[in-house]
Each structure stands twice: as C-alpha cells, then as structure tokens.
Amino acid sequence: MNNAIFSLQKVSKVFPGVKALDGVDLHLYPGQVTALIGENGAGKSTLVKTMTGIYQPDGGEIIFNGEPVRFHSPHDSHALGITAIHQETVLFDDLTVAENIFLGNYPMTKYFSIDWPTMVARSQEILSSINAHMDPNQILRELSIGQKHMVGIARALSVDAKVVILDEPTAALSHHEIHELYELVNTLKGQGKAIMFITHKFDEIFALADRYTVFRDGCYVGEGFIKDTNEAHLVEMMVARSIEATYPKKDVEIGETLLEVDRLCHTTEFDNISFSLRKGEILGVYGLVGSGRTEVMQALFGTSNHVTGTVTMSGEEVIIRSPKDAIDNGIVYVPEERQKQGVVLELPIYQNISLPQMARLVKRGQVDQEGEMALARQYCERLQVKSSSWNEKVMNLSGGNQQKVVIAKWLATNPKVIILDEPTKGIDIGSKAAVHEFMSELVDSGLSVIMVSSELPEILGMSDRILVMNEGLIVGELSRAEATPEKVVSLATGGTIPC
C-alpha cells in the first residue's frame, strides 16, 4: 500500500457549525483512477479543496511522494503537479481562452514579461489534444457551457501534472463530450498519472475507476478495488441503508390537453417550438447541454425577451411576459441554477416559500406572518425538508434540501404545470430517489410536469413522453413505449431515428 504518490491521513476540516471532514484517509496511486464516492455533503469537494491548498486542514497530514507537505495556497499544490477541475466552473468570463488556461502559470519571456504568443500557441496545442476546437483568443463569455468545461479541462492539463483531480466533471457535459473525457482519462492514466474522480453516476465509476474510496457525513467509510465490488455494495456503504427502485414511476391516468405551445420562436436561441402537455403527464425534454432546453422553458416562464408564438392553457391563449404572468397562469419553474435563480440564500425558509404569493398573505395591510409560517410548515413537512426550524436561513441547508425548498415554494402556489429543469443535477442517489418519488406524487395529485434532464436513465425512467432538442429545434418526439437510449441519443446528436 505504500506506493501511493499522494496520501491523506486523518485529515479534518471544520467549518463554523459543520465538521465537513472528520479524520479521513485517502490514497492515490500512479496510473490508477480512484473514485471518491459519497452522498451530497459527504465532504468530497471539501477534500478536493484541502488537497489543492484552497483550504488548510485543521488536523491530519498530507503526504506527497512519501514526504509530509503543507499547502499554504493553491500555488504550492500546483508547483508539485497537483491539478484539479473543480465542481463549480472556476473560469474568467472576460478573459481569453488562452489566458484562462494559463492563468496562475503564465509562460514568461526572459525579460520577466508574459509571453503571449507562446501562451496562445500552447493553448492551441492542448485544446486540439483534447479535440476541442476553438480560437484561443476568443473571450470566454462567448463560448457555450460545454466549451467552457473543455477550457477547464485544458487548464488542468496545462501543467505537467502528476495528480489530476476531477470533481463531478461530467455533470455539465453532453453525452458526446463525456465519451471524449473518458478517453482522456484513460490516456492520462496510461501516462502514469494518479487520478481522482468524483461522480454520482455509477456507470461512470464502473467504466473508469480502478479503486474506490467512500465517505459518509465527513467520515471515511472504506476503500477497495472496483473489481471486487458492485453497485449495491457501494450504495450501502454510502448511505448505510439500501435504496429501492430508482425510478418509481406510477401509472397515472392522463387527462385532456392542458398546455399548448405553438410555434414559439426566439431570434437567436430557438425556433418553431410546438408541443402540448396533458393533465397528469410527465413530459421529458432531452438534449445535449446548450441545445436550448432551458431557454425554451424560460421563455414559457416569461423570463426571456424577443419571443414570439402562442401559449394556450386549457384552450385559452395566455400572454406571458414575466414570471408573474406565468405564475398567475399556473405555470411554475424550478430552475437549473438553484442558488442563483431558485432561492434567496440569506432569507429564512419560510420567507422563501411565501415569496411568490406575498400579495395573498396580507392582513390589514401587513404581512401575515403566522399565515406565512403555516404555509411553510404545511409544504415543507409534505416535502420532508430537513431543517432545525422553518426560520433557518436557506444558506444553511444542503443542496438537496434547497431544491426541496424551491419545489415547496412552487407547490404552495397551487400550480397546474410545474417545469423541473435538471431537478436532480448534482443530487446524490438518496435524494434523487426522493425527488423522483415526489414527481410521481405530483402527477398523481393532478399536476402536469415538464422535466428537462440530461440524464438518459432519468428521462427514460420517468417520462410519459419525450421531446428531443438539438441546436434550438425540436427534432423528435417519442412515447414512453418507443423510446430507447439509442433512439434518443441519436436524435439529440443530430441524427435520425435508426430503424
């Protein structure tokens, strides 16, 4: 066991009120991929930040090449050849691609100045080595999210790394890009680099990893070789309980048409979007990242300008120019960017829940706080939001519980259509099941659901009907019965349905 190039021993990290890491161990070996597994909030990302010098551990030792080391800043870890792709995209929108790749590690001329031509040339090399074709002089803001992720990967490869850490790198990548990433990981492995891979997707773990390490609630649970384990075993280690059926789709009677969208067009983002949604139906919308799904949903919710076309609810045309119009018409939207668009982190849970319907919670000209509280209690209990009190700031909740707060907020408005945009993105397997179960309950109680997702199993498992989008257009519609993974992916990547 002592040939590990990079080890952590009894490492702890405390945040005010939270013990994020509690004496954990981890070993990375040259030429091997180690998967780090754990539920949301298990402390995986915190560990990554401790390994790269972003956080300083409160206890324990970090050992590199057999010697104890201390990282005072990300600079120190970088110097030793440890690079990481972090969970959040940590790039600079207003700088060029080349600079994003080399920031913090600029090539210099002998006159102590930054060597821009070399930087551009080397960026070009690295980018083409990972099959990403873009102009290194382009400003990052002009790229798509997927392209940005490729820049992030190029950045990690710009140094001659000995240890490469990937924290949920596939969460925002398309199917196609994910496969390229797999190839890349295998190449790196072949070059003898030690790789750590964090993901919530089990297929990825089994496809890529040689070893695994499992964390639970900031504690080390165990490790081993992938070839000696199976999914059920891993899940049990992660959650200390077993999880039943992953996609608990109930059969619900589907009613008459509720929502009809006719030739929705946008000047730059999408064109000619027409579809309908029936009562009690779950409509899945699949597509590659950047295919315009979110834009369409946001148009339905009234947040984008420059949109033409008609939207009908129960046969009557409705005009939606702002989220308020949408809410008034019974359409609500659980956004993809939860913390930016979904919740007000600094406000307590109950105020988040009541926000969309303050106007209804007024008594004698004043906000009726008791009414607000009652509302919050009712819906948070129904969704089983885990919190010490409804007066807790949303900031202090875990990601999954924040998502539940968003859903609770919308359910409290008694909507007819609920749009869920990537409802389980970055959510661990336990919470995921809860969200899926809840979706089933929603349709059971008479709601209709539009679910945008990039996860094929989720789309196939939960939808009654599937729309596939590509480059701003709807390229296909499949019923639950006809949908197969191959058909959906082929449509999404611009092909036709293979017969």
Binding site: T303, P335, E346, L347, Q351, L355, A359, G365
Partner: protein, 335 residues
Amino acid sequence: MDTITKKAATPDFILASKLQALLRWETFLILIVVLVCVMNSYLSPYFLDPWNLSDATFNFTEKALIALPMAMLIIAKEIDISVAAIISLSSTFMGLVAQMGAPIYVVVLVGILIGAGCGLFNGVLVTRFKIPSIVVTIGTMSLFRGVSYILLGDQVVRDYPDGFDFFGQGYVYWVFSFELVLFVFFALVFYWLLHRTTFGRYTYAIGNNPMASYYSGIKVDKHRLILFTLVGVMSGVAAVLLTSRLGSTRPSIAMGWELSIITMVVLGGVSILGGRGTIAGVVLAVILMGLVTFGMGLLNIPGIVMSIIVGVMLISVVSLPVLITMYKTKKAKAL
C-alpha cells in the same frame, strides 16, 4: 448539521429571533446614544435644554428624511448619490413657481413632483439600460444641479409666499418642530413599509438575490423604479423643508449632502452590499450623528475635526463586527 439543536418551528420563534437580531446592532447604537448624551451633558451645561435639543434636530431632520428611503434603496442593492442635486433642482423649481406667484400648496406640490421626476429618471436609466446605479447617479448628480444653474444662474429666489416658512421653521407643539414631527411620522411610515409590508419583503429579497426574486414573480425592475422614485419624492420633501428653513433658493443648496446621508445609512447598520439593515438602526444612527455633532458644536470643535470623528466612526462601525467575529472564531478554534 447535527450540531444545530432542533427547535420547534413556531411563530414565537420568529419573534424571539427577530428580537435577537434587533438586540444586536440597535442595542449597541442605543448604548452609544446614551453614552453620548451623558458625556455631552457632562461637558456642556447647555446640552440638556429642550429648546437647544429641539434646535439641534434642525441640523439633521432633512437629511434623515432622505436617509429613510435611501436605506431601503441600499438594502435593495442600489444607491443614489444624486439626492443633493435633486434637492437643488426641486428647490429651484419651487423658487420659479413661487416667483410667478403660486400659492403655498402649488409650491410644495411642485417641489415634491420634481423630486419624484428626478428619482424616476434615475430609476428609468438604471432599469432600462441596466447601468449600475452608482454610475448613473454620478452623471445625474451633475445633470440635475447643472440644470439648476442653467435655470437660476446667479439669481437667488426669496419671494416665497407668506406662511411657507412654517415647514422649515414652524413648531407643531411646544418644542416639537414641524420638521421633527414630520420625520417621526415618516420614520414610522418607513418602518411599517420595510418591516411590515410585502413591499419591504420584496426589498430584502431583491437585495439578497435579484435573480431568484425575479424568478419568484417579483417585478424587480418595477420595484427598483418605485424605490428610486421614493428616494426622489423624499428628496423633494426635504427640499421643501430646507427651502423653507433657508427662506431662499440658490443652485448651490445642499452641496455635499449625499455623502452625509449615505454615512447615516451605513452607520445605521445597513449593508452597503445590500440585503441587510433596519429602519430602527438608521433612525438611531441619525440621532447619534445629530447628538455627536451638536455636542461637539457646543464645545466649538471645528467642523473638519468633527468630520474626522465621523470618518473614524464610519470605519469602526463596519470593522468592529468583523473584528469581533474574527476574535470569536479564533477563540472557537482554540477550544
């Protein structure tokens, strides 16, 4: 998460935590206010005299009236540094209509309407063109006062109708001036508006996360527009009072007030980054600043020395809480 002890989610709990929050910054301010009072009455025999204290309120009531909506605006993550220029423009227009012989109510109405118009103009520029409000109001600050110069030049207007002097110089009862009573009234109104109504809730929500607020169906731009207009209206009201108190109008009126108003708001515990602050805090800060400057005035300390003291106060106010938490976490780590 287990470290947080479970508490029952009842309304009493809201109340308790509300009280707790109130008991921090505001208590601190109250303590200082009392301290300053004691010190002042010890240092100067003239301090504890109702008429003197009443006179002292004239030094800040107009600024304080603007500080109230400004606090809301800053809580909503915006700022308006053109307020003093708005006073100038609205006073100028009052002067012009007064010269034409308009009756009192028209003069007052014109003052308030011009203020509202200026605020609306700021709001439209901010929301329509998506320009940061500090940038917009640096521009309109010159524009509004510049228009006053164009209109009035080196003239002075002093023919205000009889009785107009009541607003800035009159007393409602005993030592309670009209200005003071009006300030108390508006402090209550803004307290109610910010802490009791949906409008106030929206203000906090927008200040903390404008995007999520928009996605929750709040008309964010409209809200901002209203807030800017509100600041404009109150600047108009302040212009009425100030013009009446001075009995005359010149374009250079209220020069440099924007900074003292913002100072009051920040001193009152409103976060300049938005999302946090209370009306009670602002009112206390206003009183504190009034007492401190009045006390120092009684000791004939030069104004520029007072401004050093206010500067030090301002910096301490934002630094102290940070230092305290730093100290606390250090202690917590040591344990």
